[in-house]
Symmetry: C2
Subunit: 233 residues, 2 copies
């Protein structure tokens, strides 16, 4: 039973809240029974696994928690990455909010067979906020990293100023298909849009906001494309 806050495992967990420590060590933290169970189900062996009241005093575990308090179990895992692939996958460009990265990983796991591919400017998918938002999907479907220029297949850039609606573009898309969603404010860079096989927008009301939240746009996009492609088959 760990009774000192100076314990090395507790110190490691606290340090892994910082991106630099995660990058250097290649490790990350998952908090809570649901995530630790998802890791186990996916065959991820923890480097450290601490259960409150069994391995460590609950107050000490609370103090290193990024959730503030209440985690009964905390695991440390080694980061993994996937390869791009699948009939349908999602590429994120410049998505700096970790909650949006995590939620997109969860949505992609629910709606398509390929991984989330992280392009430049994306938040760390192994940060505490991203891990929480991705839920078990981070373990079932770790993200890939690859440049847009090197992805194979029918690439669709989703952005607000495209002429065609996503449903039209999706009807002509072929597998493998990669949907690209990007930074809300700046939009996708024109180099990226120019080399894409298709460009599409989600039709929005004229009197509404200029855009959806980026994770919403990604989820709607994958939903639409997965239906179009299922209808083709």
């Amino acid at each position: 039973m760990i009774t000192s806050p100076d314990n090395n495992q507790l110190k490691l967990i606290r340090k892994l809240q910082r991106k630099r420590e995660r990058d250097e060590s290649g490790l990350f933290v998952a908090e809570g029974e649901d995530l630790v169970e998802a890791a186990q189900a996916g065959g991820w062996e923890p480097e450290v696994l601490l259960v409150a009241g069994e391995d460590v005093e609950p107050e000490l575990l609370d103090r290193v928690s990024s959730l503030g308090s209440g985690s009964r179990v905390v695991g440390v895992y080694r980061q993994r990455s996937a390869e791009p692939g699948g009939a349908l996958s999602l590429y994120l460009h410049g998505v700096g909010d970790p909650g949006n990265v995590g939620t997109s990983i969860r949505s992609a796991h629910a709606l398509c067979d390929g991984p989330v591919i992280l392009g430049p400017g994306c938040a760390d998918p192994f940060s505490p906020k991203a891990v929480r938002a991705a839920m078990g999907s981070l373990f079932a479907r770790p993200p890939a990293r690859a440049p847009w220029t090197q992805l194979d297949g029918f690439r669709i850039a989703l952005h607000g100023s495209a002429n065609a609606a996503l449903s039209e573009v999706g009807a002509g898309a072929t597998s493998p298909c990669v949907l690209c969603v990007g930074a809300e404010r700046e939009g996708l860079p024109s180099e990226l849009v120019q080399i894409a096989e298709g460009a599409a927008r989600i039709p929005l009301r004229a009197d509404g906001p200029d855009s959806l939240n980026v994770a919403m746009a990604a989820t709607v996009g994958l939903y639409e494309l997965s239906h179009r492609m299922a209808a083709d088959a």
Copy 2:
């Protein structure tokens, strides 16, 4: 120029981070130029409006900011609520996360003509996190409050164990239509589902997570229904 942290307007802004203060005063805070401009565009008069460097020392405004720092302008507004209505609207049941409530308000503004209707157990739409996630849509489309039992029209309960896919149910829906999305963990109460005119699920991959994040489900649902209803018309 305000130079003291004991200024009453600064104290009010700080206090309004607490739900109780918002409930008692009927006021809320919007931070940042984008939100204050959206309020102005929507005809909302601020009760207090402080611009850093003009009305108040920037460090003092930073200290009362819920964002931590960097807001150049902060406004205090009186809460408003809308009435249920529209050809398509969204009802939230037990959505306790303020980010999800705010994001749903933004998506509804982009995809349907009715307001977000808040049922029991929803987070305060005027909390700092919800205001930030809703962006200008909170001012363009303030939410309504009404019980499910009293809503008119074709009510669709969206939940994972419904037999029919949303696209099928949507094809038979009539206007006015209200989509109900609820608590991720507990699901919708059976009383609510039983009195609905329709029940539907978003088809998800068998090897994926049990559900989408609740704001994602709401956005996909509104996207699908708005398309079905547009196709009918």
